[in-house]
């Protein structure tokens, strides 16, 4: 039994992305006590598995089912051209698309995590508590803990589901990751005050502005 075929069988049966480490473990475990021919597989290394995965990915490149690196692992998926036949028919329906505010908020979190709500608001220039709640509910963002600054505000980070939803291998795959991570954030007005006053409950009275 060759490694590549075993990997293909494993990936076919899996219902979630499998990491190279997980795949290597599964191959070794299966080879334990198998026929003498498969015995060397009991000592397979992660780099060998990774190499085989890349060969497999290349071979499947023109097939209707392809190999995708996603959310820190590998998983088989149907090629986009077949979506009209597969989608909504046999496959689990896709979750709804993200709204524009959700995408902008996610982008800020993805590049700057872990990040507090006040810091997100400083970048976007609008209140984000509602959007943030929705993102947490959808499971693409989670609370990562509390920041070590006055008021100890909650800080947020993206989840594996975020990577899966956007078809990302890992956070490094985000475009311009270097530049956007390094860029200096606009300072939130006052973290302590913002944390103590979680919501703007009512809008300020309308003001007439004369040019």
């Amino acid at each position: 039994m060759d490694l590549k075929s075993i990997l293909e069988a494993l990936l076919f049966a899996a219902t979630k992305p499998l990491s190279v480490a997980e795949l290597a473990g599964l191959v070794r475990k299966g080879a334990d006590g198998a026929d003498p021919e498969s015995a060397p597989l009991a000592k397979i290394t992660e780099s060998e598995v990774e190499a085989a995965l890349n060969v497999l990915k290349g071979e499947m490149g023109n097939r209707p089912v392809r190999l995708q690196e996603i959310a820190g692992g590998w998983q088989l998926g149907t090629a986009p051209a077949y979506a009209r036949w597969v989608g909504g028919q046999v496959a689990v329906p896709k979750p709804p698309r993200m709204s524009q505010p959700a995408l902008e908020t996610l982008a800020v979190i993805a590049y700057r995590q872990p990040i507090s709500r006040a810091e997100i608001e400083a970048v976007r220039g609008v209140a984000v508590s509602g959007v943030l709640e929705t993102l947490v509910e959808r499971g693409v963002v989670r609370v990562a803990g509390r920041a070590d600054i006055p008021g100890r505000p909650l800080i947020y980070e993206t989840t594996e589901l975020f990577l899966e939803h956007f078809g990302l291998k890992d956070l490094r795959e985000l475009p311009n990751a270097e530049e956007l991570r390094r860029a200096k954030l606009p300072e939130p007005p006052d973290p302590a005050a913002a944390a103590a006053q979680p919501e703007l409950l009512h809008e300020p009275d309308p003001v007439t502005i004369q040019d």
Partner: protein
């Protein structure tokens, strides 16, 4: 991003106005429309455009979020500074950046990057949407249309529920001494608690028994609303074990031994 707003208040006027995610988004749009570089923004000009946009929003009776007004006041402040002779301008706290526009420009540049990153995420989302991967079956309790074991008629439609509810009301009407009591006030929230309380004690409850001790029409109605709310929130499920039998209510976690296995 540009979304049409249509007045629906009977007026034949149809207006299309871009919708902005916030004041920074609006400013970026104005700068882009003017085809100037963010770093060369003329505060006086952009302030005028910004304020006239807010006026247009007001004319259309659109609600203007507080953030837009905060930005408006900031812009007017920046503009007022530029009108003063240099030697009379109030000293900024960080003197090394004597251009008061700098904070705003930096914020705009920053926001623009993330807005572009959001656009990129959107494209990835659209592509990934077309790729179907195998998924684990969702937990049984999350599937809304689980057939009830042993019965084809297990599922209850809204019509069945309403029908059963009418029967309850009918029964209440026949009760001696039944009359409207205005002093009683029932809230859906209270009844939700009541139902959850009942469900905590019994796995399954016959629909009509929920209303057994109730005598006022409003209490029955409120209880029914509470039940609908709980079904909507997926706390409860309604089933009909026997064809034409009584409707029963059970909690979501109880999904019968056959489905569990």
């Amino acid at each position: 991003m540009v979304v049409g707003i249509t007045e629906t208040t009977g007026s034949p006027l149809r207006v299309t106005l871009p919708i902005f995610e916030g004041p920074l988004d609006l400013l970026l749009y104005l700068i882009k429309k003017d085809e100037v570089d963010i770093y060369d923004v003329e505060i006086g000009r952009i302030t005028g455009q910004y304020l006239s946009y807010l006026e247009a929003m007001q004319d259309l009776d659109l609600e203007i979020a507080g953030e837009f007004l905060v930005m408006a006041s900031n812009l007017v402040y920046l503009k007022s500074r530029t009108l003063l002779p240099v030697d009379q301008q109030a000293a900024e706290e960080n003197a090394e950046e004597d251009d008061p526009r700098w904070d705003l420009i930096r914020q705009l540049v920053e926001y623009k990057k993330f807005k572009e990153a959001a656009g990129d995420l959107e494209q990835r989302e659209a592509l990934q949407e077309l790729i179907y991967r195998r998924k684990a079956a969702p937990p049984v309790a999350l599937i809304s249309e689980v057939p009830i074991p042993g019965s084809e008629l297990g599922r209850v439609t809204m019509l069945d529920l309403i029908h059963a509810f009418q029967k309850v009301l009918e029964r209440a009407r026949q009760k001696a001494g039944f009359r409207e009591i205005y002093e009683e006030r029932f809230t859906v929230a209270d009844k939700i608690e009541h139902i959850l309380d009942v469900m905590a004690r019994a796995e399954r409850v016959v629909f009509s028994s929920l209303f057994q001790e109730m005598t006022s029409r409003s209490e029955i109605v409120v209880t029914f609303l509470a039940l609908l709310e709980l079904i909507r929130l997926k706390h409860l499920r309604v089933i009909q074990p026997d064809p034409l039998g009584e409707i029963e209510i059970c909690s979501r976690t109880d999904h019968g031994p056959e489905i569990n296995s």
